[in-house]
């Protein structure tokens, strides 16, 4: 009897100790877009170095998955490349706020045998290629933009995403703005009814398919084109210039948007006006409940977001993301104050 009661007492003490230690560590789960996964995981590990009791775990299951899971409250925060629609916001059990975290760009990648030059594309030409109206590389519309480049008379193989994705959302959002036919025929969503082409799973497979299929064109996030050293073209922006995606050009797109930034930050910055702007840029958002149940986690996330929007931005350029403009960060800090942390 004595040994038994001693045993239970020591077990209880051990449990209390463990529980006590666990109470110190705050674990937060998030899920969502694959596109910002590299920068988010860098941020979470750097933040953990500064605050060793904060462990943020992120699963990159896709933007739609992030929206679903944060609505169901299986994760504390979500992440998405495409803002939530009014219907999706309606179905959430509480008010969800969007916070832009970084900027990204989607680039047209291509692989044409014997063509080493950088190609210029206009929005209309890209839309027509993806609509299946331009089927050969030596079509006059492409030739007009690329004087001096001999393009072969071979078929264009369009490569798009087979899985739903925020990258697709950014791409089709741009196409819908530059091509009324795309807007009415196909529309804008994470997953669309592609008029033509083959589908790859993930940015990785699209990059792989484009590299291996001669005469193909696809779209990937800028970082994948850079890392896989695939040729990507410049795109004509609203001001008529041909701009190749770069950190500066993407930040410039966001700077233009600040002038008309809505209070909830749900704005599309594709085809933004202005000089030096890369037209296929987008914010990527973190989704947080305004009034979450777990106030400790809410406070931790707010502190993390304040760090990410200021100190965290210096990690962006190395990984191929564009940092947010100052003006946007200021607006976000004000919005973060609205989150209930007690």
């Amino acid at each position: 009897m004595k040994t038994a009661s001693k045993l239970t007492l020591s077990l209880a003490c051990a449990a209390a100790l463990v529980a006590g230690a666990a109470a110190q560590t705050i674990r937060i789960n998030g899920a969502g877009a694959t596109f910002p996964y590299p920068i988010y995981s860098k941020w979470f590990s750097e933040y953990n170095k500064l605050h060793s009791n904060v462990e943020i775990n992120y699963q990159s299951i896709g933007s739609g998955g992030g929206i679903q899971q944060v609505t169901k409250q299986t994760v504390f925060f979500g992440a998405t490349d495409g803002p939530m629609t009014p219907e999706q916001l309606q179905t959430a059990p509480g008010k969800i706020m969007h916070f832009p975290a970084v900027l990204g760009a989607v680039v047209p990648v291509y692989s044409i045998p014997n063509v080493r030059n950088e190609l210029h594309f206009s929005g209309q030409v890209l839309a027509d290629i993806f609509l299946g109206k331009i089927t050969k590389w030596n079509h006059p519309a492409i030739g007009k933009l690329n004087a001096g480049v001999t393009l072969p008379a071979s078929d264009i193989t369009v490569v798009h995403r087979a899985d739903g994705s925020g990258t697709t959302y950014i791409w089709v959002d741009y196409l819908a703005k530059v091509s009324p036919e795309w807007k009415s025929r196909v529309g804008v969503a994470n997953s669309v009814n592609w008029p033509t082409g083959v589908g790859g799973r993930g940015n990785e497979q699209v990059a792989g398919l484009v590299t291996q299929t001669p005469g193909s064109i696809g779209y990937v996030e800028l970082i994948y084109a850079l890392q896989n050293k695939i040729a990507y073209g410049s795109v004509q922006n609203a001001a008529g210039e041909f701009v190749k995606a770069s950190v500066e050009a993407v930040t410039a797109a966001a700077a233009e948007a600040v002038k008309q930034m809505p209070a909830d930050f749900r704005v599309s910055i594709t085809n933004a006006p202005g000089k030096g702007v890369y037209p296929i840029s987008s914010f990527t958002w973190i989704l947080l409940y305004e009034n979450a149940k777990d106030k400790a986690q809410a406070k931790t996330m707010v502190d993390f977001m304040k760090w990410a929007l200021t100190d965290g931005q210096k990690y962006c350029a190395d990984l191929g993301y564009a940092p947010l403009p100052e003006a946007v960060v200021k607006l976000e800090m004000a919005a973060l104050a609205k989150i209930k942390i007690s």
Binding site: A189, T196, G199, L209, Q212, T213
Partner: protein, 295 residues
């Protein structure tokens, strides 16, 4: 308990797909459009792609698998038997995603080279029309065939082993050559072999990762071997995680339900055939014993 789990799966699938079943009804099986933006869903391209790729895979795999089975059980020297069995069954152990990766890096470029070198006269046929991408029905069928061969061959081998010696000896006694005796054995074992083929068919129907990486993921119905197409398992794997909206999810689950039903039917039929083959062979062995007892 396993029966309960299978029934449970069926019930959950039917439950979750109710929304889509009620909205589209039988048109779901006939419509070719798959448009998440407009909310129009039709499963015809996926059903077509799944059946076409599986049937094609079987047409390629069955002769090869039967050849392997016959060789291992009848013709090859005893020392080679075990290693060959081991190697064939190793094919079954390779994970699907590894097949997919091999397909993307090795098979698809090879198929593209073959497709490009096809003479123009043949390109006019609907079976070979379309740009030679490499990705498409042909690559998918080839990869499925490779995945299905070990299943068909190992079951056929077992079935051939169970052909009673009396059959073969009878054939030789009637003056058959070696190959004629093998043919007689194959004929005797035909129900079991058909069962093995149907089991392979069931496997091919459900194969996901390897197929989605080489088939091109384009939901269009097409006769052409070169055309990129789509299968039921592939569309679920690709779109389910991101699908937002009740109707979209429900449509995907309905495709899962269709796949579940078809695979269940094919597998049950194959089991039934193999079982009836085993039964009829034990029944055939009884009369000689009874005759001896009687005499």
């Amino acid at each position: 308990m396993l029966v309960a789990i299978v029934c449970g799966i069926g019930v959950v699938l039917a439950n979750q797909s109710m929304l889509s079943v009620q909205k589209f009804g039988l048109n779901f099986w006939r419509t070719e459009i798959w448009d998440p933006v407009a909310g129009e869903f039709g499963a015809l391209p996926f059903i077509w792609g799944t059946l076409y790729s599986s049937v094609l895979a079987l047409l390629i795999a069955t002769p090869i698998a039967l050849g392997i089975a016959v060789f291992i059980s009848e013709l090859c020297p005893a020392t080679l038997r075990q290693p060959l069995v081991f190697i064939t069954e190793l094919l079954a152990a390779i994970p699907s995603i590894v097949y997919g990766l091999w397909g993307v890096f090795v098979l698809v470029p090879a198929v593209r080279a073959v497709e490009t070198s096809l003479p123009d006269a043949m390109r006019q046929l609907p079976l070979f029309s379309g740009p030679p991408l490499g990705l498409g029905m042909l690559s998918a069928a080839l990869i499925l065939a490779i995945m299905v061969i070990p299943f068909i061959s190992s079951i056929s081998r077992e079935v051939l082993k169970s052909v009673p010696a009396a059959q073969r000896e009878g054939a030789y006694a009637l003056g058959a050559t070696r190959f004629e005796a093998i043919r007689a054995a194959l004929f005797y074992a035909r129900t079991g072999i058909i069962g093995a083929v149907m089991l392979g068919f069931g496997r091919a129907l459900g194969e996901t990762m390897a197929v989605t990486m080489v088939i091109g993921n384009n939901p269009k119905v097409s006769m052409s071997l070169f055309a990129p197409q789509y299968t039921m398992a592939a569309v679920i794997a690709n779109e389910f995680a991101e699908a937002a909206g009740e109707l979209y999810l429900s449509a995907l689950v309905e495709i899962g339900l269709v796949l579940f039903i078809i695979t269940l039917i094919i597998n049950s039929l194959s089991r039934l055939l193999i079982w009836s083959m085993a039964r009829s062979e034990t029944a055939a062995q009884e009369p000689p014993v009874a005759a001896e007892a009687g005499a």
